[in-house]
């Protein structure tokens, strides 16, 4: 409740800042030493909040559906892609983490590349992965692959830490029970890793959203919010508020995913301590 209130308070402050700057700022922005340090405040760059609200209510094109509906549908489409990517990324991350925990040599050999993998710009991967669409998988799934590519990383790293978190005592206890690796994993390592898993999943959720949005743009997949951002931003010249409606949609998507992950966490994390995981 408190959190919700403070987020609302934060939003209100942000809205005030926006309109305040529009009222007080230079429409051409402030240029210092040849660099524009403060943004332009004109209606083209920063439409009034109510203009954006109005745009949401108006139809997309003459006689078309209202923008809010289009944005919402795009969000739902991308949500599906994100969910698939998130799920796939999580599974891959978990399997990798388990393999790295099981075999020291795998950890040594693989972990640097897991870290390195995240420095490959999506822009470069997109054409390669887009090529799989239509043959290996439906083309929307290629976007999920990109989302999974970003999502697996925090899970793999966080989960590895989690799986390694039980004390030597706990591991020896399981050995004294003559429990093998698998049973130790199920009864000890996995439950012990949950406090590490959930923060990692939150990061993975955010990463999956970014992956889905950028992936849609890169692979030219129609129907989602990423594509909508590009389509609407082509119209920024004549209809600047429209881009912002798509941005709001992306924000909504981010919140939806973050909320869903938090919900997942609630029942499992009672009676548990909370840890923070650092990826990388």
């Amino acid at each position: 409740m408190r959190r919700v209130l403070s987020v609302i308070a934060g939003l209100a402050v942000a809205a005030l800042l926006w309109e305040g700057y529009k009222a007080a700022g230079d429409p051409e922005g402030t240029v210092l030493f040849g660099v524009r340090v403060l943004p332009r405040a004109d209606d083209l760059s920063m439409p009034h909040l109510w203009t954006i609200g109005q745009r949401l209510a108006d139809p997309e094109m003459t006689g078309g559906r209202p923008v809010w509906l289009v944005v919402l549908q795009a969000c739902l489409f991308t949500l599906g892609i994100t969910a698939a990517g998130f799920a796939a990324g999580t599974v891959i991350g978990l399997v990798l983490a388990a393999a790295m925990q099981r075999f020291r040599i795998v950890e040594r050999g693989l972990l640097p590349y897991v870290v390195l993998s995240q420095t490959v710009p999506l822009v470069a991967l997109a054409p390669l992965i887009a090529g799989w669409g239509g043959t290996l998988m439906p083309s929307w799934a290629t976007v999920s692959v990109i989302a999974a590519y970003l999502a697996f990383f925090p899970v793999a790293v966080g989960m590895l830490r989690g799986l390694q978190s039980p004390s030597a005592g706990g591991v020896e206890l399981m050995r004294s029970y003559a429990a093998g690796w698998w049973r130790t994993l199920v009864k000890l390592r996995f439950p012990a890793a949950l406090p590490y898993l959930f923060p990692a999943l939150r990061l993975a959720g955010a990463a999956a959203v970014v992956g889905a949005v950028v992936g849609e743009i890169s692979t030219g997949t129609r129907g989602g919010i990423g594509r909508l951002i590009i389509e609407y931003s082509r119209e920024a010249t004549s209809d600047p508020a429209k881009v912002y409606t798509a941005m709001l949609g992306a924000a909504l998507l981010g919140l939806l995913v973050a909320g869903a992950v938090s919900l997942l966490e609630l029942p499992l994390m009672r009676h548990r301590r909370h840890v923070e995981v650092a990826t990388l």
């Binding site: 972990l111 590349y113 710009p121 390669l128 950028v214 992306a250 990388l280």
Partner: protein, 251 residues
């Protein structure tokens, strides 16, 4: 040696398999180029790669430094004024869930697409979150023993902040920076994707890919990986320099 060998073996093996897969499988270069072809392009384009990496690296660095500075100031303020901290953490967490990179086209309009400001801003915002959240946690988590000790020394609030809070939060700051450093490079490269100056790795990659010149595109990708790695390692180095006490730990 034991730490270096396995990744090197894996890397060499993966490259070999890749090369074999491409040559034996007769995979066309416009689908997946062979490592040898990419290597040849890296050599041929080295000048361009270095120049583009410098441009993207400058943006990433500017964003990293700017975002970190703002994050440090914000974390100091939020740890000082409780209300601010209460409000800022969930708010920051919410903002962090948003696909910030998609802000690039809007920032390009608000600022100037002909300057590097918008992409540096995107990078800065992306950097801000991990640094802010980690540092704030560090600043708040003061060992109660230290707190009492400083009180017995009758130390003022400022002395306390300087001698205990800040050094105590240093490990957290670096945890944030480690995450931020490679994020900064990714953000700087991806932001180029939305227009603006065509001097960085992102622009080079997309333009090469548009020509189906995938070996050339991957040569620039390799540059981007190297840049990200450099940033990451530089942060690690800085961390070791800034926290000598962590280096001397015995088990």
């Amino acid at each position: 040696m034991r730490r270096i060998l396995p990744p090197v073996v894996v890397g060499v093996l993966a490259l070999l398999l890749w090369e074999l897969f491409v040559t034996l499988g007769r995979v066309a270069p416009f689908i997946l180029p062979a490592p040898s072809a990419i290597g040849a392009q890296i050599v041929e384009q080295r000048q361009n790669i270095v120049e583009a990496a410098l441009a993207s690296g400058a943006n990433a660095l500017a964003g990293l430094i700017g975002g970190t500075l703002v994050a440090v100031l914000a974390a100091l303020a939020a740890s000082r004024f409780l209300v601010l901290g209460e409000v800022s953490i969930p708010f920051a967490a919410v903002l962090n869930a948003l696909p910030i990179i998609a802000l690039a086209p809007i920032l390009n309009n608000m600022f100037e697409s002909t300057s590097s400001v918008p992409r540096r801003l995107v990078t800065g915002i992306v950097v801000f979150f991990p640094v802010f959240l980690n540092l704030l946690r560090g600043l708040r988590e003061v060992d109660p023993v230290h707190q009492e000790l400083m009180r017995t020394y009758a130390a003022s609030g400022w002395t306390f902040a300087r001698k205990v809070r800040l050094p105590g939060a240093l490990p957290h700051l670096f945890t944030g920076l480690r995450q931020a450093s490679s994020l900064a490079v990714i953000a700087a490269v991806v932001a180029e994707y939305f227009g603006g100056l065509q001097d960085g790795l992102g622009a080079r990659i997309t333009s090469a890919a548009a020509f189906t010149a995938y070996p050339r595109a991957w040569a620039f990708v390799a540059g981007a990986c190297l840049l990200g790695l450099t940033f990451y390692l530089a942060t690690l180095l800085l961390e070791r320099l800034a926290m000598p006490w962590k280096r001397h730990l015995i088990s």
